[in-house]
Subunit: 344 residues, 4 copies
C-alpha cells in the first residue's frame, strides 16, 4: 500500500547511503572528532553564513530539544512555547524530565505571536510575586510548525526582537527545516534564520538521513563543556561519523535543499488534487504536511487503500488526518493517491 | 498599620506556643519518632475517621506538594491541576523540578470540573499517539482553592469517582483546610474528604502553627520508604517534635476548627462590610480570603492605611486585591478596616 | 533515662524561645523579608567579618547542603567530599537526587587532605578522557567533621589554596559549627573560616534553635535568583521569621558561642571521665561528640541506664558508640553518666 | 597509520550494511513497530533461549545504562557497581543525572565479588540508620569488564544468587558481549547469562553495527510503559528500523558470534606476539582489549607508528595503554603491529 503516513518511513537518500558505504572501512576517531564531522561542520557553517558557529551532531529531535533547552536554561527558568509546540505535547515530558517547565503561549495555526510574547514577558516581570514563579528563560518555536505553517521573515524578526529586548535566547526546532526553507511561501533564508536566533537544529531524520540532527549555535555560543552534558544525557555517539558522513553528503551540491524542494512539490500536487476533489482542509499548509478533515466513514474507506496518519478528532463524525510527503515521495504514488481520492 | 495581607503574618496560636514551651526541655528522639508526633498522629487519624491512615509531618506547602506528587507518580506520569492551581503557578516550578509535568485543566473560580476531567482522560487514552505523551497520573485540587472557593460534597464525589474509574489517585492540597471545613458554605466533613481522596494535607502554617503541614494517606497507602524519600528531598526534620507538638495542640479540644471558624467569621464580617460600602468583588468567596476589585487611585489611597495583597491586574484602571483574615485576626482590626473603607 | 544520644534531643535554648514568644503576635511579612531576619543577617555579617555577605535561612542540614550544592554547581560538575562526608553517606542520596555526583576523596579521621585533593584535581585534568567524566566542581568539608574532628587553620588554608588555584568553590557544612569554633583545640576564628571559603552554614538545629540553619555567601556571591531556586527545592518558608527570630537571639550577646562552649566543657568532662574509667576511644575528638568502643555485652548493660547512639560495628565483639553533649546538657547528667560508667 | 585505538573505529560489517541498502526504500512504520525490528527481536529471543523476553533497541551504551537503571530503580534506591564500572567513571555522571547514586563495591581486575556484595547488603540492612541512606536497588556488572576480564559461570551464579536472596535485580552491561561470549576463556552461554540476570544488553556499536544496542528483559519483565520513558530520556528513534535491520543481520547465520570470535583471535595473536616481544602486561585479558605497561619513551616512539589508547598513569616513567581488536581487525595489520613492537 502507498504510504503518506510520515516523512520518516524510508531509510536514507541514495547519495547519503553511498557515502556511508564508501567511508565504511576507514578507521576514524570517535565522538565527533573525525574528518567527516569536521567537513560537515564547515559546509553547514558556510550554508548558514556563520563562520564562527558551533555545530554538534545528535540523534533525534526530542533528544536535541531536551539537551539544548536544559543546557541553555538556568535552574530557575522554563521555556516558552506555543500550546501546540512539540516539546509541550508529544515528547512524553522530556523537557520536564530535565527539571524545567514548558510555559504555554497561545498558538495561531501552530505559531506564537510576537505581541503576545511581549505581553507575557512584560506581565511576568510586572507581577509582584514573580520570584515565586518560573522565569521565562528561552523561547522555543518550530519552523515549519507542527501544523506545517511558516513564520514570515517579519514575524521571525519581531519575535527575535522581543527575545533580545528581554535577553532571552530564541531556539528554533528545525526537524523539518528543509521543507520550510524550500517552500514557495517562505521568505526567510537559512543565513537570515541563523542570524535571528541563538540556537537551532537542521533536521536530518526527516530530510534524507538515516538518523541525525545538526545543532547550531550561530555565534559560537554553545554552553561550556557541552559535549560532557551531551554524554550526561546519554546522547553522545561513539561512532559520530555516522551522522557526520550523512550531513557531509546532505550539504554537498545543495542536496539537502534539492530533496526538500522535491517534497514540497509533491505536497503542492497533493494539495491541488485534494482541492480539485473537493476535500476540506483543516488549514492552509505551505509545506510537506497536508491536513484534511474527513468524514469518518470516508476515512475508513480511504484507509484501506492508502496510509496516512490520525491527527485529531474534529467532531463526532469528522476526523483530521495528515498526509506527509518527503524527499522519497514519488510522483507516481501521488498520482495514485489522487486517483483514489477523486473516486471517493 | 493593620494588616490583612496574608494568613501567615503572625506566629502561632498561644495554646500551640504554650505546648512548645512546656515540652521544650524534654529529651526526645528525632525524625518523627517522639511521643508528641505519635500523639498528634492518633488525634489526626481520629479526626479523619481513618484508623489506618499514615500521617507524616512536613514543613511547608510547596515542599509537601513536591514530595507527595513525586513519590506517588510513576516516571511517565504527570499531575492534572486547574490552570490556576498553586503547583502550576506559584511554586517556582517545584513539581517540574522533580521531573514531572503539571497538566492543565480548565478552571472555574479555581475549581476543576468532573466532566471536563473525564473528557481529558477519555481523550488521552483514545489518542493513538498517547504513548508519546505524558500520562495523567494524579489529580491535584486545593480545598479551599487559591480563590477561596469550595468544592461541594457532590462535586468532590464526582471528581473522586472519575479518579477511581481511571485508577488515578486524587490529592487534595489543604494549605487552608481549616478555613474550608469550617466555612458556612461547606457541606463536606473531614472524614468524608479523607474517604474521597488518596492523599491530602492539613495545613498548619496558615492555621495556627509556627510551621508545618500534616500529610495523610487515608488508607495507610503511603509510598514505600516514604521517609527516605522525604530525606532525599531535604524535607526530613531532625527535631520533628517541633511539628508534632504543634499538631498535637491543634488537634486537642477541637482547637484547629475553633480558630478556623473564627477566621471565617472575621471574613464574613469583612465581606458584609465591603458589600455595604459598595465594593466590587472579584468573586464570591465563602472562606477567609476576600477579593475586591479596586480602582487604582482608591487602591493607592487605601494602601496608606491598611495592608492587603496584590492579586492581579484587571484592566488599566483596576486591580484585584486580596484581604485575608486568619486565626489571629481581631474584630477590632476588622472594624478599623471597614471604617477606613466606608470613608473612601 | 538520661540521654546522650544526639545534640538535637531538646527544643530550643530558653532565650531563643523567649524571643519567639515576645514577637509572636507581631504582623510581619513572609519569606524572609521581616525585620528579625534582617536584624539576624546584620548580626551574622558582623560576627563573620563579612559586611557584604548574603545570608539566607533554611530549615535543616540536608536541605541546605542540597540547595547550596545544586545551585553552585554547573550541570557537568560534581562535588568532592571525604568518603565519610555526610552528603555521601547519610543524606539518602539527596545530592544525587539533584542530578550531581558526590566524588569521593580519602578520609583521615573524617578530614580530607589538601595534597590528596590537589592530586585528584591534577590527575583529573591530565586524564585524556576527562571530558567523559564528572568535573570536580566544588569541595565539601564539614567543620567539625562527622567524627567530631577539626581542621586546623593551616589545613583549612591549604585546602582553600588548592580550591582557589583550581577555581573551585569551597563549601563548609557547619551543622555543628559552634561546637567546632569553641573547642579548646580550635585555632580558626569565624571571620577566618568565612574568608577561606565560598559558602558555609551556621547550624542552628543542633546549637540552641528549634530548627534552622543560616547559609552565608561571604562575598555576596549567592547564585542569581537564589530564593526562587530555594522555593523550587520546597525549602522556602512562608513564616521565615521563625528562623530569623531564633538566629537574632542566638547572635545577641554571644549566646551562640556561650552555649556551644558549654557543650564542649561537658564533652571534655565526659572524655576525662571515660579515660579515667579505662574506656577505649575510637578516636580523639575535641568537640561535643565522643566515640567509644564498647564490648557488646557491656554496651547492652549500659543501654539500660543511659541513652547513646550506635555508630558502627568494630568487630564481632565490639561496637563503636557515640555520646553527644549539647547546649542543653547538664553537669548533673554528665556526673550520673560517669558514675554509671565507672561502676561497669 | 594502523589503529588499535578502539573497537568502534570502523563503520558496520558489510553484511549489516548490505541489509541496510536492500531495505532502504521500503516504507516502514516508525518507533520500533516495523517488521525488521520484530524479526530481530525473534532472533534475539531465540539466541537467548528466552521466548518471553522483552527486547528494545537503543542507540548507545551510556544511554542504555541510564534508561535501564533509572526505570528499574525505585526513587530511594541506587545501583551497586565495581569502583571501575563504566557507569561510575566514564559516563559523565549520566546515572546521577537521573537522580540516583552509584554505590561503589571493591573491584578485582574490574570484577565484583559475590561475598563482598553480600557483606555490603547485609551490613546495609543491619545498619540502624539505613533509612537515612541510599538503598542498594540493583547490581550492575559488565561482561566483559572494562579491563577485558570475564566472570566465570560460577562467579555469575553466585552474584545472581545474592541478588535473588536480597530481591535486587542484576543488570549486565554487554557493550562488548560478543567478545566476552566467544572468548576461549569463557564458560557462560548466552542463554545461561540471560537466565542469571534481570536485564542486559547486547552491544552492537562495538560489534559490527553502525550503532545500536539491544536491551533484553529476559522474563518479559520490562518496566511498565518503558517506551514512553525511553522517549522521555530522548532515546526513542523515529527510524528505529535503522537498528532493527542491523540486529536482524547480526543475528542471522550466527554473524554476531563469528565476527566476535575473529576479534578474539586477533587479540590472542597480539597477546602472544606482545609476550614474545617481552612486553609487560597490566593484567591478563582473555578478550579483545589488551593492556600493556610501556616505558614512556618507548610509548612515544610507538605512537608514531601505530595508534592505541591511553589507559592510565602507572608511575612517573610508565603508562598503561590499550590495544583493541575488533570484528574489523585484519591479520595483516596485527602482523604489522607485532613487527613494529618486536623491533623496538
Amino acid at each position: 500500500m502507498i504510504s503518506f503516513e510520515c516523512d520518516y518511513a524510508e531509510g536514507a537518500h541514495e547519495a547519503v547511503l553511498k557515502r556511508l558505504m564508501e567511508t565504511n572501512m576507514e578507521q576514524l576517531p570517535g565522538y565527533g572528532c573525525d574528518s567527516y564531522c569536521e567537513s560537515a561542520r564547515k559546509k553547514i557553517r558556510k550554508a548558514c553564513g556563520c563562520p564562527d558557529a558551533d555545530v554538534f551532531f545528535l540523534m533525534g529531535g526530542t533528544q536535541t530539544n531536551a539537551v539544548v533547552i536544559r543546557t541553555m536554561l538556568a535552574q530557575y527558568e522554563g521555556v516558552l512555547a506555543a500550546a501546540t509546540g512539540h516539546i509541550g505535547v508529544h515528547e512524553a515530558g522530556a523537557i520536564e524530565y530535565t527539571g524545567h517547565k514548558v510555559l504555554e503561549l497561545p498558538q495561531h495555526l501552530g505559531k506564537i505571536d510576537a505581541a503576545e510574547l511581549e505581553d507575557y514577558l512584560k506581565s511576568f516581570f510586572a507581577d509582584e510575586n514573580h520570584e515565586h514563579m518560573v522565569f521565562p528563560g528561552m523561547v522555543y518555536i518550530s519552523f515549519p510548525t507542527e501544523y506545517g505553517t511558516l513564520y514570515t521573515k517579519k514575524e521571525l524578526t519581531e519575535i527575535s526582537g522581543v527575545c533580545r529586548k528581554y535577553e532571552i535566547p530564541l531556539y528554533i526546532d528545525g526537524a523539518r527545516l528543509g521543507y520550510g526553507l524550500t517552500s514557495k511561501a517562505n521568505d526567510v533564508s537559512l543565513p537570515e534564520l541563523a542570524s535571528l536566533c541563538d540556537a537551532f537544529y537542521i533536521g536530518g531524520t526527516k530530510v534524507g538521513a538515516l538518523c541525525g540532527e545538526a545543532v547550531i549555535f550561530p555565534k559560537g555560543n554553545s554552553p561550556k563543556h557541552f559535549m560532557t552534558m551531551v554524554k550526561q544525557h546519554g546522547a553522545m555517539l561513539a561512532k559520530a561519523r555516522l551522522i557526520g558522513v550523512q550531513f557531509d553528503a546532505l550539504f554537498t551540491d545543495n542536496l539537502y535543499f534539492k530533496i526538500s524542494r522535491h517534497a514540497n512539490e509533491m505536497a503542492e500536487k497533493m494539495k491541488k488534487g485534494f482541492a480539485e476533489a473537493g476535500c476540506r482542509f483543516l488549514l492552509d499548509s505551505p509545506t510537506n504536511q497536508q491536513f484534511l478533515i474527513l468524514e469518518n466513514s470516508r476515512m475508513e474507506e480511504l484507509k484501506k487503500k492508502a496510509a496516512f496518519s490520525f491527527w485529531e478528532v474534529v467532531d463526532e463524525k469528522h476526523t483530521a488526518v495528515r498526509f506527509a510527503s518527503s524527499w522519497a515521495t514519488t510522483e507516481e504514488n501521488v498520482d495514485k493517491l489522487l486517483e483514489i481520492v477523486k473516486k471517493m
